[in-house]
């Protein structure tokens, strides 16, 4: 009998065309949107990690708690040795030190008057570690005017900042800040170039200089405010980060000593973790909505195709087939159609995702501000979840839709089914 049903299904293609079409579209949309959302999410995560927080981040507890003030006297010291140990203990990550500090700059405006304004300094390993940071921050591309610093007395300015204070590459300016002992210090630097990231955290009053130079200026030699760890896979993985966090803190963190290094992971940031959960729920929500909408649509499509088949059902009933048996065969057909449509939709959706993963959509200028850092090219991202995120709802919806329409058809008496046949 199953063979008989499948034969009918394969031969009468028009019977299932509409339903296959609906399932395919629905599943495609789900997979494509999920792939796209995953791409956006992981791009935002990576961008945030790259520019701001790393996948994991080591600071002192004290620094973490007063982060807004960027207190350099709560820096981690002996950074070089610590990084060597980290490289040995956590080979899944690459490590780099960075230093954030606040200060004031003094500059001459066009009419020769001395002006001043606040800035945020970012010390980066510009000429060590094989230029990892330059690659990570995409500095060559981010350079808007001028060039990368070649010596310790050269600095980069955020383009927006430089523009606001009307400073150009080649100009000199004076940095004024407090060192580790709260003593005011100042030094003159040459602007080597300007950078533009299109994200608030990197464009607002930012000055980039060499990490060692920053340490020298602040009198915190061989210290840095933070050490960032980046997963070599390139993608945030909460389990790996959590393990690293536990192991690191067991070994290096002393809860009685707020100056001892402490590792946090991206997900410890409440805003970030809210966002991640939101994204995860979003996929679940998508699947649920898909099941509901598709079920209703397929229920109606099922009624339509059932209507076309009153004839067949009437005959089969008259010939002595039981309603429950016909109902079962109807569901079997639904399963086959659901699988065909879902496979097609999944393949199309994954195809779309892979194309978008490769080529991306440029959204420069669409997004601005916020602490989550948005990249300017949005890419989709393929994950194995896409294999079933649309497939399972597609099959389930087909099943529910046809179960409902089947029930409605078979609630009629056979005599009325046959009457509609005009025997």
């Amino acid at each position: 009998m199953i063979k008989f049903i499948i034969k009918g299904l394969l031969r009468d293609k028009s019977r299932s065309k509409l339903q296959i079409f609906i399932v395919t579209i629905g599943v495609f949309l789900t997979v494509a949107i999920s792939g796209y959302m995953k791409g956006v999410t992981s791009d935002m995560i990576n961008e945030t990690a790259r520019l701001k927080s790393g996948h994991v981040r080591i600071t002192t507890k004290e620094f973490l708690e007063n982060e807004k003030n960027l207190p350099i006297n709560f820096s981690i010291c002996n950074c070089e040795n610590l990084i060597l140990e980290l490289k040995k203990d956590f080979p899944d990550f690459s490590w780099t030190g960075r230093t954030h500090f606040r200060g004031t700059i003094l500059f001459q405006d066009s009419s020769g008057n001395i002006k001043q304004g606040p800035f945020i300094g970012l010390g980066l390993e510009l000429n060590s570690n094989g230029g990892d940071e330059i690659k990570r921050l995409n500095l060559y591309k981010a350079i808007y005017k001028g060039k990368l610093p070649e010596s310790d007395n050269e600095i980069l300015l955020a383009e927006e900042f430089a523009n606001r204070i009307k400073v150009k590459p080649g100009n000199k300016l004076i940095i004024l800040t407090q060192n580790n002992d709260n003593i005011p210090v100042s030094k003159e630097y040459v602007v080597a170039g300007t950078v533009k990231y299109g994200v608030q955290a990197m464009d607002n009053a930012l000055i980039i200089l060499n990490l060692q130079e920053a340490a020298k200026l602040l009198d915190i030699e061989n210290c840095c405010t933070e050490i960032l760890g980046f997963l070599n896979s390139g993608f945030y993985d909460n389990t790996i980060c959590e393990n690293a966090q536990i192991n690191f803190n067991k070994k290096f963190h002393d809860s009685n000593n707020p100056q001892s290094p402490f590792m946090s992971k991206m997900k410890d940031d409440p805003e970030f973790s809210f966002y991640i959960e939101y994204m995860e729920n979003f996929t679940g929500l998508m699947a649920t909505i898909l099941i509901m909408i598709l079920s209703v649509v397929l229920w109606n499509a099922g009624l339509l195709s059932g209507l076309r088949r009153y004839n067949e059902f009437g005959i089969r009933l008259a010939m002595g087939e039981e309603k429950s048996q016909i109902f079962k065969t109807l569901l079997l057909e639904a399963l086959v159609i659901g699988i065909i449509g879902s496979v097609a939709g999944t393949i199309l959706g994954i195809g779309f995702t892979l194309i978008l993963q490769r080529y991306g959509i440029n959204i420069t200028g669409m997004m601005q501000g916020g602490t989550m850092i948005m990249p300017d090219v949005i890419r989709a991202r393929y994950t194995n979840e896409l294999l079933y995120i649309g497939f399972i709802p597609g099959v389930i919806a087909m099943f529910i839709g046809n179960a409902i329409s089947g029930t409605m058809i078979f609630r009629r008496r056979i005599s009325s089914l046959l009457k509609e046949l005009e025997i």
Partner: protein, 231 residues
Amino acid sequence: MNEEIIRLENLSKTFVSGEIKFTALKDINLSFKKSEFTGMVGPSGSGKTTLLNIIGLIDKPTDGKYILFGENSQAFNFRTASAYRKKHIGFIFQTFNLLPVYTVYENVELALLLLKKTESERKDAVMQALELVGLKDLKDKKPPQLSGGESQRVAIARAIVKKPEIVIADEPTANLDAKNAHSIMQTMIRINKELETSFIFATHDEKVMLYLSRIIKLEDGNVSEDIKINS
């Protein structure tokens, strides 16, 4: 030969739709014997189809008894009624009602699939039925490729392939020309003789009446005449 297979006692059928009640069959008393070749005749609306539906266990009477093979059908639930139809009753419809996506062979085979016969049993029975209606050569065609006469023969083969005791045929010749109508009737007569199948028709067709061994006239839901013809 004179075995009674169907008895209707004081049987009536009333349709209720909303406020309106309509009694389509009134106090019918009839008995059918094995291998009778009976036709119900009567004007449109006289209750022929209604009566056939009840005999075919597609509908239930409102009052009275329908005794099939000695069993009171009142007690049948949907499942039992299906089982009776599956085994003992074959249907032939005015509009043939073949399943268009299946071949002639498969259309006939369906009746046996429902009875869970083995493949070789099915093959033998289907080929025999197609032989009886003279369609062996067309077994791989699909219904849309067949003429009306051929289609109705397939429907006959489908109805008789399981060798049922009763075949019910509502206006089987209404969509056929005279030549095909006669030929179909001859085929059914032959099956009636060879397999001792009881045929019960509803018909307006004069040509059908030529072949009948019994004519039951219905008028307004009553049996007005019941004529047995000795040939």
